[in-house]
């Protein structure tokens, strides 16, 4: 302090007055919501890595089958169940097919189904739950009873009916997948929205004459984003397994095409003798899941402006 004093001159005690502009300009550079979310996502190393991993998986699913020398349906029948070798790095399955090739072919189906299923039930669940929660009262009561009815009817019967009415194919597979899968999310969203309806900003929006659909989509849903993300990322494996179940009963993809779920189900039988047949598809599912979840966590944080500093 003393050292400072020395430098003080009378000049320095001249009045400069307020510099309002300066006091206001302690602002940080302002960027848009999406830019900011993206910036924050980039800062999250784990989420970024997960995203790269997922992109890698997708690229592999698209291209690997073209590059890899072994076809996914080629049966090297003499060497069934062979463990990993230099030639077949993930080994062969119980019909002597290359598991590495099959993992990527199966990934096409599983990733697509996982994503489509997640997106469809996300959309349906969110809209349904949103409407139910927003209107409350009798509407809510009836809508929730419908959910209960849907969950109550035996799934097998519904699925068989779907396959009869629509035939077997991707469309009916997705329909069967999503028929009840959205109900959990719908209930979750509804609960959240019932809470949010108490918020004053909803009242404010009503006072401004904001139409109902806008209140739901602009005010309510964004604020339930974190549960939605968690639930959705968590639901992906259940779609992957549901697909394998539906394929098993003949609704999904037809052999020799395959999926991770189907491979895992097959591998599970061989678990004690040929663990590699379960290991690789299970690993593919788990790692993808892990990546989805970590990315989901990152997204949730990135989209939460409260965490923005």
């Amino acid at each position: 302090m003393d050292s400072q004093k020395v430098t003080l001159t009378e000049d320095m005690f001249r009045r400069v007055g307020t510099n309002e502009h300066k006091s206001e300009s302690v602002v940080r550079p302002s960027i848009s919501y999406w830019q900011d979310a993206w910036r924050r996502l980039k800062q999250n190393k784990v989420a970024l890595f997960s995203m790269c991993f997922l992109i890698f998986m997708v690229l592999m699913c698209i291209f690997a089958p073209y590059i890899y020398p072994h076809a996914y349906d080629e049966q090297i029948i003499e060497n069934t169940n062979q463990g990993p070798t230099a030639q077949h790095i993930f080994g062969l399955d119980d019909l002597g097919r290359d598991i590495f090739a099959r993992v990527w072919v199966g990934g096409r189906v599983s990733l697509a189904i996982g994503l489509v299923g997640a997106v469809v039930s996300l959309v349906v669940g969110v809209i349904y739950g949103g409407i139910s929660g927003y209107f409350g009262g009798t509407v809510d009561n009836i809508m929730m009873r419908i959910v209960e009815v849907l969950v109550g009817i035996p799934y097998m019967i519904v699925v068989i009916l779907v396959s009869i009415v629509l035939g077997k194919g991707m469309g009916s597979l997705i329909l069967a997948l999503c028929l009840t899968s959205w109900t959990g999310l719908a209930r979750l969203v509804r609960g959240q929205i019932l809470n949010l309806m108490e918020s004053e900003y909803i009242l404010a929006a009503k006072a401004l004459g904001t139409p109902t659909y806008k209140i739901i989509f602009k005010h309510l849903l964004p604020n339930t984003l974190s549960v939605i993300i968690v639930d959705t990322t968590f639901s992906i494996p259940s779609f992957i397994f549901a697909e394998s179940f539906l394929s098993f009963i003949g609704m999904g993809i037809q052999p020799p095409n395959t999926s991770w779920g189907a491979m895992a189900a097959l591998g599970q039988q061989q678990m004690s003798y040929y663990p590699h047949e379960l290991l690789f598809p299970a690993l593919a599912i788990s790692l993808t899941m892990l990546a989805f979840n970590l990315l989901g966590d990152g997204l949730r944080d990135a989209f939460d402006p409260k965490l923005r500093q």
């Binding site: 019909l95 699925v159 068989i160 077997k168 098993f248 003949g250 037809q254 052999p255 097959l266």
Partner: protein
């Protein structure tokens, strides 16, 4: 299991514990797995291997097989009339576990219930050879007119429509066991066998407790006519539906027998087998698996015999059995090993019919067939209907798919039936092209297989129809000369499998079993009788 045997741990599985806790030297306990959960133990309705296994330990059939030979069971002797149409059985002095004597009427009652339309027994068709049976069963006849009578308490008379040389072999069916009429009156006619308490036990063992979905405990029946030769005190039948589970239980000593193991497991256990720690045994299990072509194919593909045969020949059965199924033996005929024609084993006498054509080129045949039906290769898409029983069925179809696609350059689609019911429904209505099914012997005679492919038979999923075949098989029914009979069968089989290729045989089933080395004198039956005969077994 615990009779001082070294391999067993003190704390067995919970289910065997109540009984097996005290490994006193006198205790004779055996633990066997149930692979499915039996729904009813009414002998009349015992229509699958699992139910047979249980029923035949606790009920006494007229005869019992021992080492492939017919031995007296509930009947101590029997004779047939000269025309072969009337069988007379003289019964043992047998008693039910509660001490009531077994009467001939009880056998009559059981058989009558088999035909009783109210009961709806799946096995009834097998016994249509009994006079008046079919009529009663289908509602066109009266109960009194069925040709099974009890002139006195110890005598049973059975009147047949035709002189079937193999009828005696059907006498170890659960449908020919005693069920007292007073237990099956009114409501009980339908509910008999749904709980352990309401049943009567005439066999070497009696059910002591039945926990549905879990286990059945059998106790020695002290009133059994041959009780002195029954050495086991207790048999625990433990439900274990997963193969892995059963294997682990066997290794832990919770099971004394493991049937139908696969080659992987055998390899794993080979050391123990070699060192005689466990006993390995193989037996023919007379059932065969085959591919059914829809001979009435609505698409007009498999109505052509050449195409059928091409498809049949295109399958590399050796590779299939060795690399995919890893058990059983390749089949080129219908009648499996373990089926006798009188004394001789049919399959050992008669060469597999398809072997004759083994060297024919399937592709050439296929092309000929195509020409006949006037289609080109590209026009053909074939759909394989697959049941969704388990992952193995899937594997099999994918193997066939690949084989056909590769060889014929056509598209083979796999269509999976949503469930059992759908599969049966689709097949029985003929709304499929190819599917995979099989048949297991009901009794130890080729007829049990051959009669299925008679024109219009209910169990003819291929809708196979060949008048020559019909003629041969029908003649064989009452042919008393065994040699001629065998020839007729051989000719018929050749028509079905080779000439007309109505179906494509895949495999004969062989069972590999592992047995606790201390278990002695058990029997493993092929056709008829309990799968595992424990009447004389004991633990060393």
């Amino acid at each position: 299991a615990c009779g001082g045997s070294g391999g067993n741990k003190e704390n067995g599985s919970s289910v065997s514990q109540q009984e097996g806790k005290n490994p006193g030297d006198g205790k004779q306990v055996v633990n066997i797995a149930m692979t499915t959960d039996p729904d009813i133990l009414d002998p009349t309705r015992s229509d699958d291997a699992q139910k047979n296994q249980i029923t035949l330990e606790v009920q006494e059939t007229l005869i019992r097989m021992k080492d492939g030979k017919i031995t007296p069971g509930g009947a101590k002797s029997w004779e047939t009339s000269d025309d072969g149409l009337v069988w007379t059985f003289h019964l043992q002095d047998n008693k039910y576990s509660d001490g009531t004597p077994v009467k001939a009427d009880d056998y009559v009652n059981c058989m009558l219930r088999t035909f009783d339309p109210e009961v709806g027994c799946h096995n009834a068709g097998m016994f249509y050879c009994i006079e008046g049976g079919e009529a009663y069963n289908t509602g066109n006849g009266k109960r009194e007119d069925v040709g099974i009578k009890a002139p006195d308490d110890q005598t049973l008379e059975i009147h047949l429509n035709e002189a079937l040389p193999y009828f005696l072999l059907m006498a170890n069916c659960a449908n020919l066991t005693p069920v007292p009429a007073d237990k099956t009156t009114g409501e009980d006619n339908l509910t008999y066998g749904s709980n352990a308490e309401g049943m009567m036990y005439s066999g070497p063992f009696a059910i002591e407790s039945w926990t549905r979905g879990s286990q059945i405990v059998l106790k020695k029946n002290e009133n059994y006519w041959d009780a002195e030769n029954v050495k086991l005190d207790t048999v625990n039948l433990i439900l274990a539906q997963e193969e892995n589970t059963r294997q682990q239980m066997f290794e832990e000593g919770n099971l004394d027998m493991l049937t139908g193991i696969n080659s992987e497991y055998r390899k794993k256990m080979q050391d123990k087998i070699d060192s005689k720690e466990v006993v390995f045994e193989e037996n023919a299990n007379p059932s065969s698996s085959y591919i059914c072509f829809n001979n009435n194919d609505p698409d007009g593909v498999f109505s052509n015999a050449k195409i059928r045969k091409a498809f049949s020949l295109a399958i590399d059965r050796e590779s299939f059995l060795k690399n995919v199924q890893k058990k059983n033996k390749p089949a080129y005929g219908l009648v499996p090993y373990g089926i006798n024609n009188e004394e001789s084993m049919y399959r050992e006498e008669i060469e597999d019919p398809l072997l004759k054509s083994k060297d024919e080129d399937p592709v050439a045949l296929f092309e000929e067939g195509l020409k006949e039906i006037g289609k080109t290769r590209d026009e053909i898409t074939v759909t394989f209907l697959q049941s969704n029983a388990n992952n193995d069925t899937k594997l099999n179809s994918e193997f066939f798919q690949r084989q056909w696609q590769e060889k014929f350059g056509i598209t083979v689609k796999i269509d999976t039936a949503a469930d059992n019911s759908t599969f049966n429904n689709t097949v029985s209505k003929g709304m499929y092209q190819i599917c995979n099914t099989g048949w297991g012997a009901d009794y130890n005679d080729p007829m049990t297989f051959m009669q299925c492919y008679l024109t219009g038979d209910g169990n003819n999923p291929a809708f196979f129809s060949n008048s020559e075949y019909d003629k041969l098989v029908n003649e064989a029914k009452s042919e008393q000369d065994m040699k001629t009979r065998q020839e007729k069968f051989a000719k018929a089989e050749n028509i079905l499998i080779n000439e007309d290729a109505g179906i494509a045989p895949l495999s004969y089933s062989f069972q590999e079993n592992l047995i606790n080395k201390n278990l002695k004198d058990y029997g493993i039956n092929g056709s008829g009788g309990p799968l595992i005969e424990l009447k004389n077994a004991y633990m060393e």
